[in-house]
């Protein structure tokens, strides 16, 4: 059986403050979510200010699949390796190096399979396009216009 206890004013005040903080935290999260959803994001696009680090063989009709890669993320490299194995003349599979403020070292770029390799020097992927998940695959047409994104499941 529960025990009914007298609740001191201090404890009651602490309770109000505590539950108030929970409600405030949820409200802040909701406000962040609403702001994020309402923001108008730019559509991704290949070309400046992105910096090309390794070009693909030119092809007027090829589409480009770019994997968002952080060089420190093993999952991203795994996705890029698996996809680049399926690269064809009409589909170029490469990487967009993101969340890397300094220009990647040549050895880092050389370790990445596929082409083209782009570097997002201004962090547009996160700040202007609103994308946030490493390893996602973005599709672009031959003129660098964004078509769609897809997700490659984690290897078993």
């Amino acid at each position: 059986m529960s025990e009914r206890t007298d609740v001191s004013r201090g404890w009651r005040l602490v309770g109000w403050v505590g539950w108030g903080m929970v409600v405030a935290a949820l409200g802040a999260l909701g406000w962040l979510w609403r702001s994020d959803r309402a923001r108008v994001w730019e559509s991704p696009r290949l070309g400046p200010p992105l910096v090309i680090l390794r070009a693909a063989a030119s092809s007027a009709r090829a589409t480009t699949w770019l994997v968002a890669v952080n060089p420190d993320c093993p999952h991203c490299r795994d996705v890029l390796t698996r996809l680049s194995a399926d690269s064809t003349a009409s589909v170029h599979v490469g990487a967009l190096i993101v969340d890397t403020p300094r220009r990647p070292a040549p050895a880092t770029v050389a370790a990445l399979p596929g082409s083209p390799i782009w570097w997002d020097a201004r962090n547009d992927w996160r700040r202007r396009w609103g994308h946030r998940v490493y390893g996602e695959v973005m599709r672009f047409d031959a003129r660098g216009r964004y078509l769609s994104a897809r997700v490659v499941p984690v290897a078993p």
Binding site: E3, R126, R132
Partner: protein, 204 residues
């Protein structure tokens, strides 16, 4: 079964104490079952990341116990604030034992993955997430938050409320309202958090 057998009062009778021991047995079964599931998941992760499956499983179990501890503490503090004392340790044991319902849901979901033709039949029990990525496509936050809403989740929430009502000697209705409200708020927080984490990226 008497509701008072779930969390016996401090002045418990020998019968109530035996019931508590029975309940503790369910706790052990639940923990062993979770450890086995976590070990298998850890074996999958460990091969890729060079981690011992037992270590991964142990970390997962500790995380589960901590999550239940926080859940129990939240309810205990709520009732304490309302001037009623819900025994923390006993309630925590009850919550951990009830997690066997979640474990059952996990097993059924894995079954649906192995036999997709059964998924439409299993979905009402474990939630629509077993229907695959097409369900709420592009709405990863909503899927993560409410994809597990099924009969078993309803049972878990109902039993959590029942355990409290029994311990506090209160009517089930009000406690059930509180428990459903708490569940809904955590799901909404999860929905918004997943959406904020993914931005405009897709999630599997």
């Amino acid at each position: 079964m008497s509701t008072s057998a779930i969390i016996p009062p401090a002045s418990a009778s020998p019968t109530d104490r035996r019931s508590t021991r029975t309940y503790a047995v369910f706790l052990v079964i639940a923990l062993v079952s979770w450890w086995e599931a976590a070990y298998r998941q850890g074996a999958g992760l460990g091969g890729e990341r060079h981690l011992a499956p037992a270590l991964v499983a142990s970390v997962m179990i500790v995380a589960r116990v901590l999550a239940s501890a926080v859940e129990a503490l939240t309810y205990v503090l709520w009732w304490r604030w309302r001037g009623e004392r819900l025994p923390y340790a006993r309630f925590l044991v009850a919550l951990l034992a009830l997690s066997i319902v979640d474990r059952l849901a996990l097993s059924l979901a894995a079954w649906a993955t192995r036999a997709p033709s059964l998924a439409p039949w299993i979905a009402p029990v474990v939630g629509p997430h077993v229907l695959g990525k097409d369900w709420l496509h592009g709405q990863a936050g909503l899927r993560a938050a409410f994809g597990s809403l099924g009969v078993l989740t309803a049972a878990r929430v109902g039993l959590t409320a029942w355990v409290q009502a029994a311990a506090l000697r209160r009517r089930l209705g009000g406690v059930l309202l509180l428990t459903c409200g708490a569940w809904l708020l955590t799901r909404i927080a999860l929905w918004w958090t997943v959406d904020l984490l993914r931005g405009r990226s897709l999630l599997p």
